[in-house]
Every structure is written in C-alpha cells, then in structure tokens.
C-alpha cells in the first residue's frame, strides 16, 4: 500500500486499482526475466563456447574484448551450473517472498512482531543470515582452502597443541606447545587447509542445497498438491498413491545406488533428494488446498467468473503459502544432514568443500586436534537448530491458530 492511499472509500480511484493484480504479476515476471536472462545466457555460453578447463568470465572477457577491464576488476570467476542455478533460485526467492512482503508492509510488520516474540528464533535468523552472507559473499573474499603440509594441525588463535603433533608451528612456541595465529583463526586440518576458509566455503554449499532443494520441492509439491486437490477423482487418487511411493522410498539408499552405478556430484545429490523429498509437501498442500477451496471467498471468486487456474494461482496458493514456507524450513535440515552424512562417509562430492567432509577429515586427529571436528560440527548443528527454531516461530507468526509443532 502506498502512503497516499485515499482515506475514504469514495475517494478511491478504482481505475488505478482494477488492474493492480495484473501489474504486480507482470512486475514480478519482468524482474524474473531481467534477472534470469543473463543467467540463462551465461549457462548456454558455458555449455557451447567455453572449454572444459577455461574459466567462464576469463573467456567472456576475451570474447567481449574487455579482458583488460575484467582483469583489473579481478573478475575471473568460474561459476558452475549449480552456482548459476543458485543465483536464479535467489532471484525466485526475491520475487516470490521478498517482493510480496515489501508490497504489504502492514502485514510484514505484523509478522515481524509476532516472529520477534520468539527470541531463540530471532537469534537463529541471525545465524542463518550469517551463513547466507558468508555463503554468498565469502567465496569472493576468502580463497578456497588449499593444501599446505607445512601448516598442518595449526591450533585456533587462542588454542594450543602439543609440539609432538605439529611439524612446523606458525605461531609462538611456549613450554613445548604450539599456539595459534591470526593467519588461521580456527586452525588448520591434517593437510594444512584453513578450517575457517573451509567452513565459509561450506556455507556456500549449505545455502545452495537450501535454496535449490527448497525451490524444486516447493515447485513439485505445490503443483502436485493443488492439481490433486482440484482435479479430484482418479487423478487425485493416482497422484496421492504416487506420493505414497515417493514417501516410502528410501532416498539415501537410492542415492547410494545411483552413486554406485553412475557416480554423482552435488548437483545429482540435490536433484535426487528434491525429486524424492516433495511427498510430504504435496500431501500438506493438498489438504490445505482442499480446506481453502471450501471457503466462501473462493465461491464468490468463481461466481465473478474467475477460471480455475486464476483461483488456484491467485487465491489457493497464496493462502497456503504461509504453511508451505513453514513446512519447507522444517524439511531443509534433513537435506543438509543427508549431505553431511554422505560427505562424512567420504562418498560426497569431493570437488566442493563441505562441513561433513571436514568432520570426517578431522576424525582421526580428534584427541589432539578437536577443532577440526568441532567447528564444522557445531556450524552444522547450529544451522539445523536455527532452521527448526525459525520454522517453529514462522508457524506461530503466520498461522495464529496453530501451536508450534516440530513433526512436519
């Protein structure tokens, strides 16, 4: 709402309001097209014109004749398809969550007030914010952790470790104990990789999993759920039985099988877990959509001549959206945990540094170098905890009828 909204009913300029819905939809669409096109073009360019070992932006700079400019600005990134998808899902998040919130400041303020009543949730949101910013900005600021055997097992800044375990101490040595330095604020692992840098790069993976799986799960879950609720009859029956299968599928094992047969990276992980993770969401959306479609305003919309698609798009989905968002925040931890488990087993994607991999690499040295396991372990623990708290608080804030539940 604008601040210059007319005070009384008869002053309202109905001409201006009648096409309002259309304008906001197209604005959102425009935002998606403007943001999405360069991403799609970059992806195509990567596929068609850039060689295996070339870096996308370096080669782009050469093709555009801007090599000099690019190198002075330090633009030599090489985003993978997953990175591009990640950027696109952030765009979607902006268009479908942030834009509606900013267009409706009164409700946003109300939600925020309700949300802040739950103090752990505010702290959790802060932590998720740190992980998000660290994950998005971190890789540009902090270089990928590299092997450096001369700097193995360095302790964190205020910690110390017996010299028996360290070949080459970078910090001060007192009483036969090596002390940490600010060069490696959280210490280093067996290969001399900086733990802090690895944790920050792990944040990127965490956020990629969060955003991409959430988008895919929401997309499939909402589609199947609403179609099922609205089509009814045998379509409903068929889709729900399909959901049964998806739900009883042991996803982790299935992924192991795919990994075994074809080999798989992080992209495959995200794909498989999203494709088998939407079952609960679809059921949930279906029951919500069935409940909403009984409401009187749906009848009045239909009487005014709205098509089913319009009703689903403009009334049913927005009215179930709040519960969907909550539900999604509660299933994301499962994905993060699964990824960490695979990485811990040593069968995750070795091309990306993840928290699980770091935990597993520090296992053998845990009795003298516990920071290698503890730092990423607590980062993972706090992230999962934060998602649960935020999900709980969102449930209370958005849906005043319900009490906090952790089950779904």
């Amino acid at each position: 709402m604008n601040d210059d909204t007319p005070r009384t009913f008869d002053e309202v300029d109905w001409e201006q309001h009648s096409d309002r819905g259309g304008v906001s939809v197209s604005r959102r669409l425009r935002m998606l097209i403007i943001g999405g096109t360069p991403i799609a073009l970059l992806w195509l360019y990567d596929r068609l014109a850039v060689g295996q070992r070339e870096r996308i932006f370096v080669s782009l700079g050469e093709d555009l004749g801007l090599s000099g400019l690019f190198s002075t600005l330090g633009i030599d990134f090489d985003p993978s398809s997953l990175d591009l998808l990640f950027v696109f899902t952030m765009l979607l998040f902006g268009a479908y969550v942030l834009v509606p919130l900013s267009q409706n400041p009164r409700m946003t303020r109300y939600y925020w007030r309700e949300f802040t009543r739950n103090r752990p949730a505010v702290v959790s949101l802060g932590w998720l914010g740190v992980v998000f910013v660290g994950g998005v900005v971190g890789p540009f600021v902090i270089a990928m952790p590299e092997q450096n055997l001369l700097a193995a097992y360095q302790p964190p800044v205020f910690g110390s470790v017996d010299m028996a375990y360290v070949n080459n101490c970078l910090g001060g040595i007192e009483n036969g104990r090596c002390h940490g330095t600010w060069a490696h604020p959280l210490g280093t692992d067996r290969g001399g990789k900086d733990v802090f840098a690895a944790v920050v790069h792990g944040m990127t993976v965490t956020m990629q999993i969060t955003f991409i799986t959430t988008t895919l799960v929401a997309l499939i879950g909402i589609t199947v759920g609403t179609v099922s609720a609205y089509a009814g009859g045998w379509v409903d029956e068929l889709l729900m039985r399909f959901v049964d299968i998806v739900l009883s599928f042991p996803t982790l094992l299935f992924f192991l099988l795919i990994l075994y047969i074809y080999g798989a990276g992080l992209g495959m992980f995200i794909l498989v877990f999203s494709l088998f993770g939407w079952g609960a969401t679809a059921r949930y959306v279906r029951s919500k959509a069935l409940a909403v479609s009984e409401a009187a305003f749906i009848d009045s919309a239909r009487l005014s001549g709205a098509s089913t698609y319009y009703i689903v798009r403009r009334h049913v989905v927005p009215n179930t959206a709040s519960s969907i968002i909550t539900q999604l925040t509660l299933i994301v931890p499962g994905f993060l945990l699964a990824e960490a488990q695979l990485a811990f087993l040593g069968i995750g994607d070795t091309a990306v540094p993840t928290w699980g991999e770091l935990i597993s690499s520090g296992r053998t040295a845990i009795d003298f170098a516990p920071w290698i396991v503890l730092v990423p372990g607590f980062a993972l623990f706090l992230t999962i905890l934060a998602f649960n708290f935020v999900g709980d608080a969102l449930l209370d804030a958005i849906n005043p009828e319900s009490d906090a539940e952790v089950d779904r």
Binding site: R241, D244, I245, L247, S248, F249, P250, L252, L253, F254, L256, L257, I258, L259, Y260, I261, Y262, P333, G334, L337, A338, A340, Q341, F344, L345, I347, I359, R363, I366, D367, P370, V373, L374, G377, L380, F381, I384, L385, N388, F389, D403, A404, E405, V406, D407
Partner: protein, 324 residues
C-alpha cells in the same frame, strides 16, 4: 469396508509399492554399464584379444544378451524367492551376509527403538502436564538438541569424551563378546544413547503438542471429578488419544533414523552391522550385495509404512475405511 478388507487392501498396496521400487532398481541396473563386462573387454584388449567379442561373451555368460522382459522376469523371481546372488567380496551368499549384518544391527536397534517408544511419549505427556514449567523447558531443550545434533558428530564427540579421555567405555567394538553380557551392554551404550537422543526429540514434541489438547478436554474433567487417580487419568484418557496422531509420525521417524543413521553410527563405532555391510559392498563394487542391501532396506521401509497405517486405523475407531 471393514477393518479386515482395509488391511488386505493396504497389504496389496504395500506389495505393489515394493514391486514398483524393485522395478525402478532393475531399470537403473539394466541401463547402467556393467562393471564386469567392461572389465572383460579390458582384459581381452590387454591380452591382445578382441575386446568387442570378449564383452559379448561376458554378456552371454551373465545373461545380458537376453531381451529385457526375460531378464526382468528372472530378476523378479530372484528377488521374491530370496535368491539374491553371491557376494563376490565376502565369498558368501548375499542373504547370509545380510543375516550376519542384521545380527549385529539388531543388538543395538532393538534397545534404542524400545527406549524411544517408552521414554518419548511419557516425557512428552509429562511435559504437556507441566507445560511451561522448568521441567517442560528442559525437556524441550533436550528435544531440540537431540533433533538438531547430527548423530555421527554426536557419536564422535561422545566416543572421544567417554572412550578416549574417561575410558568408561571401550573405543573399539568387539564382535566376539556374547550378546547378553555386561561387556556388550557397555560397548553398545553409546550407540544406543546417540540414537535415542536423535529419535526421541520429534516424538517428545509431537506427543507434547498433541496431548496438550486433551489435558483440559471434557472427558478429563469428568474423570477428575469422578476421582480417577492422575496416573490412570493420564494413562487412559490422555495417552490413548495421543497415540493416534503420534503413530503417524512415529514409524516414519524411526525409519528415517534407522535407514539414515544406523549406517553412520556403525561406521563411527565400528559395528559390523547392516550399514557397515552395505557401505563396504559399495566401496568394494560388490553389485549383488549392494542390491541386496538396498532391497532389504526398501522392504523394511515398505513394511514399516504398512504397519504404521494399520496401527493407525486400529487405534482410531473413528476412521472410515472408505476414505483411505
């Protein structure tokens, strides 16, 4: 439709689901390059033979030259008659290898499942009865902690504290000790603790929130007015209706923990159970054993879901079978 017919229909559906999953597994395997075929081709090429002919021979030997539907029928027959093939790596039949794994997995799985089922609902109802007291807050804190801490991470930390530093429990698992013995109880203590804390959180939360609604229900007031003891009131009037919604989350929760975490726990604690067998098979490219383990876990999941649905309908007499 009566209970009997519902159960029959539900079991038929479970069989259907297992068939579909088996089919998907078959298709995955059928369209994947077979490691033994490519190995045979490589061998032939190294020895100066014709790799294409060698690959063809290997295919014929393994029956891969037959049409897809014949192989599919063979595969199905093998799966449902429990002829799951020979484990190359362990030099024993797949079913025997899995049986050995189950023997060790059951030793810690049964205790943690029983403990979770006993403690979870009890603590949940107790904390609903004392809602917002310090006891409730502690229980909630424990629930969130257990729910959020990655099991394998928790296991490692506990092992270092109690195994390495305090030396209260042995660090390495000894598979030779008798099942019922103090030594076995000690070495399985940590895995059980880790799995119970991991699984109990969700169950405590659900039973707390669900039973909160029955605390002040009219039937509870009636029971109290009639002088029913609190214990009996909670056991009969709160616990029973709470079990209905709880049963829907219970089985799936336990299954998630069982399928996902038991593998990790066994690796952390070095237990040669089912998860370990699966993992080793995966690492050693033992196709038959990988397949067998996948099928076993799948069947456990399907049967678990079946039990969940049947228990749900039996517990709640209000459910009409036509809707389900």
């Amino acid at each position: 439709m009566g209970v009997g017919r519902y159960i029959v229909a539900r079991m038929a559906w479970a069989a259907m689901v297992s068939l579909i999953i088996v089919t998907i597994t078959f298709l995955l395997l059928a369209f994947a390059p077979n490691p033994s075929v490519s190995e045979a081709a490589t061998q032939a090429a190294l020895q100066g033979g014709d790799p294409a002919a060698a690959a063809e021979r290997e295919r014929a030997l393994r029956g891969l030259d037959q049409p897809l539907y014949v192989r599919y029928a063979d595969f199905l027959r093998g799966v449902y008659t429990f002829e799951w093939g020979w484990s190359q790596n362990r030099a024993q039949p797949v079913t025997a290898a899995l049986k050995e794994g189950i023997y060790y997995t059951a030793q810690y799985s049964i205790p943690w499942t029983v403990l979770t089922l006993l403690i979870g609902p009890l603590v949940g109802v107790y904390s609903a009865a004392n809602m917002y007291s310090w006891r409730d807050h502690i229980a909630t804190g424990v629930a969130f902690f257990g729910w959020a801490i990655p099991n394998f991470f928790f296991g490692i930390v506990l092992l270092v504290i109690f195994g390495v530093h305090l030396e209260w429990v042995p660090i390495s698992y000894d598979p030779t000790v008798p099942v019922v013995s103090v030594a076995n109880a000690f070495q399985l203590l940590l895995p059980v603790v880790v799995l119970v804390t991991g699984s109990i959180g969700a169950i405590m939360r659900v039973s707390r929130n669900e039973s909160a609604e029955f605390q002040n229900a009219a039937f509870m007031k009636t029971a109290r007015a009639k002088g029913v003891s609190p214990l009996r009131a909670y056991a009969y009037h709160v616990m029973r209706p709470t079990m209905v919604p709880l049963s829907t989350t219970l089985v799936s929760q336990l299954l998630v923990i069982f399928l996902g975490s038991s593998l990790l726990i066994e690796i952390v604690f070095g237990i040669p159970g089912l998860g370990r067998v699966t993992f080793d098979a995966l690492i050693n490219q033992d196709t038959n054993l990988v397949l067998g383990a996948t099928l076993l876990f799948t069947f456990i999941a399907v049967i678990g879901n079946l039990i969940e649905d049947i228990v749900f309908t039996i517990l709640d007499p209000r459910i009409s079978y036509d809707d389900r």
